[in-house]
């Protein structure tokens, strides 16, 4: 079979990710735009990925959309749920993965994979931004920091200022109260990360923790959250280099499987 290019678009709530896959095996290009569903993000991510690979849309056999904006993704040939796509992407990146934790912009998911990499069970958080990327964005704004600064600040902490609230709105008030008390910022950031970890760990434990545990989604880039979650779950967590692109990768694999079935 000649090289077949499949493209996966993961249109999330806060970012748009695009990845082009060659014959289901080799990543040709990828792009990430920090603008999600309902914005120009999906179109820009698609254009950037095609540009990087030196391709045109018509060179791509199938475009598969996933994520919250999948239904309205321009130019998609078909859609797949982000849960299935993260499972496929995580298995591609770390084939031995059995538990996948995906924390995205506005939700968290725990996935259980069988040894063949098939999704066999999953849980999603409730309709609440606590413990998600949005939660970290809100907290970073209160601290007048960038989300990308949080991991480094967490690493500097020598203690922890616990945040008890599980609600984003209440937690924001709690963080402001702590700031008013003049607590150490790194310790406060560590407390914020721990609150995300506690919430996520309860979701993962409800599903059942089977090692190896792999983390995908944008929040996986935050080493502070990963460390806190490792501590909560009492197990090491592996973060693939393309963690944030796992959904788009899974969508591209989904497209590849579709092409293979048709042939």
């Amino acid at each position: 079979m000649d090289d077949v290019l499949t493209l996966g678009m993961d249109v999330g709530s806060t970012t748009s990710k695009c990845l082009i896959l060659r014959s289901g095996a080799e990543i040709a290009a990828a792009a990430l735009i920090p603008a999600g569903t309902g914005t120009s993000g999906p179109r820009r991510a698609l254009e950037e990925a095609l540009d990087k690979a030196g391709l045109k849309r018509e060179d791509v056999a199938v475009v598969t959309a996933t994520g919250y904006g999948r239904a309205t993704c321009p130019g998609a040939d078909h859609t797949a749920s982000e849960l299935s796509c993260h499972a496929l992407g995580a298995h591609f990146l770390i084939p031995e993965a059995r538990t996948v934790v995906d924390i995205g912009g506005q939700d968290a998911k725990a996935l259980r994979l069988n040894p063949e990499g098939k999704l066999v069970s999953f849980l999603m958080n409730d309709k609440c931004a606590a413990g998600t990327g949005r939660f970290l964005e809100v907290m970073a704004r209160v601290l007048e920091k960038e989300v990308s600064d949080l991991a480094e600040m967490d690493a500097q902490a020598t203690g922890v200022v616990p945040i008890s609230s599980t609600c984003t709105v209440f937690a924001e008030s709690e963080v402001i109260s702590q700031l008013a008390k003049g607590v150490s910022l790194p310790e406060l950031v560590k407390g914020i990360h721990m609150s995300v970890a506690v919430r996520t760990a309860s979701l993962v434990r409800r599903l059942g923790v089977t090692a190896p545990v792999v983390m995908t989604g944008g929040v996986a880039r935050n080493a502070g959250v990963v460390r806190a979650l490792e501590k909560e779950l009492d197990t090491p967590i592996r973060v693939p280099p393309l963690a944030q692109l796992a959904g788009a990768l899974g969508a591209a694999i989904y497209g590849w499987e579709h092409v293979r079935e048709k042939r």
């Binding site: 749920s81 982000e82 849960l83 299935s84 069970s121 999603m124």
Partner: protein, 376 residues
């Protein structure tokens, strides 16, 4: 013979606007009694010549009921109280309110304080519903309620009238069992939302009228050629599974409901009311024999065993638990029942729902993923 889609349309219309049905009943000069879940016998209302009107909440924003309830309470009660406070239920002669869960215990007092003009008939029965003492307690309780209803109706409550009402409702139960079997055999003709509308309409219609409509539909379904439908087979469980938006997502994701263990649906008609010399005793025994509902005292969790049996009998690909938000009895049941399903190798998806959900997009993701997972 009429086509099934034409016969389904009136059920959907009724469920879109149950208030119109109440207005119609009242305009005809009849008296109506609101019946809250769970297991308040409609037969008692029919026996005194009044019309029961099911109160299972509604999909509406709660503006006034927030004075009486916090946000985190069962949406059936929240929205039913809201309907009462807004005057949407004016004209009811009473509301019958059981006390079989903690949230319901506070409903009667809140209603009395907030709505006032429509009296509350408190309904209580023995939690030990299967023992002779529990049966007697429930029988006596139903007799007391019948007496109160007779006062409101201004007529005598006879055993013959109660036995006749039981016979009418049992006929309706049999018709609904036949319909759910026909719907399972023809998912191409009956969507999950259609199935729900047919069952739910019975709470707003006269049961005799409902039975006739359901029988005509069942006959039309049974006349269809053998189905070639190749979708995914579900058994649902929970308190309510009647949100049209959620049910449309089910259909769009390729699912059909083969059977259910939903408190508003088959739990009420899986078994008939036994015919006994004292008809009130038959109603008490019906409650004793009921299974599959989290508000029933069920120490051995027969609910889980029944759900496994139903899923196997329906050759279900999986079970969908429509988890009523903020419902403690349902949350308590989830843990042991989930384990029973896991042990039986039956995949389970839990989707949280309430009647104030503006969007089911997260549920859509979960249902689509469940469908993809089941298809392998």
């Amino acid at each position: 013979m009429e086509k099934p889609e034409n016969l389904l349309a009136p059920f959907r219309a009724l469920c879109r606007n149950p208030g119109a049905q109440l207005d119609k009943v009242l305009a005809e000069g009849k008296k109506a009694v609101g019946v809250l879940p769970y297991f308040c016998p409609e037969e008692l209302v029919y026996a005194v010549g009044m019309r029961p009107f099911g109160l299972w909440g509604a999909e509406l924003e709660c503006a006034s009921s927030g004075r009486y309830y916090p946000g985190f309470i069962c949406s059936i009660l929240h929205t039913t109280l809201e309907m009462g406070l807004r005057g949407m239920l004016d004209g009811l002669s009473a509301v019958m309110v059981p006390t079989c869960c903690d949230a319901l215990k506070s409903f009667g007092p809140n209603w009395k304080y907030g709505v006032g003009a429509i009296p509350v008939i408190d309904a209580a029965w023995g939690q030990n519903r299967k023992t002779p003492a529990g049966e007697e307690f429930t029988r006596a309780s139903f007799r007391r309620i019948l007496g109160r209803l007779a006062e409101l109706a201004g007529r005598r409550a006879s055993d013959a009238a109660l036995a006749e009402a039981i016979a009418v409702c049992n006929e309706n139960r049999a018709a609904l069992r036949a319909f759910t079997a026909a719907a399972a055999a023809h998912p191409e003709a009956v969507s999950p939302a259609d199935r729900s509308a047919v069952l739910k309409a019975g709470f707003f219609l006269d049961r005799k009228e409902h039975t006739a409509m359901v029988r005509a539909l069942t006959e039309a379904l049974n006349a269809l050629p053998e189905s070639r439908w190749k979708g995914l087979r579900l058994v649902t469980t929970g308190i309510l599974a009647d949100s049209p938006a959620l049910l449309d997502i089910l259909g769009e994701s390729g699912f059909a409901v083969m059977d259910d263990q939903v408190a508003q649906e088959s739990v009420l008609f899986r078994r008939d009311v036994p015919v006994t010399e004292d008809p009130a005793l038959g109603l008490a025994r019906y409650l004793g024999q009921a299974e599959g509902c989290s508000v029933l005292y069920d120490p051995g969790k027969e609910r889980g065993r029944e759900l496994v049996r139903l899923a196997r009998a329906a050759k279900a690909d999986g079970v969908l638990w429509v988890m009523a938000k903020f419902c403690d009895p349902e949350e308590f049941d989830l843990v042991p029942v989930k384990r029973m399903l896991e042990d039986a190798g039956i995949p389970l998806l839990t989707v949280e729902a309430d009647q104030q959900s503006a969007s089911y997009e997260q549920a859509r993701s979960a249902l689509e993923a469940f469908a993809e997972m089941l298809r392998g």
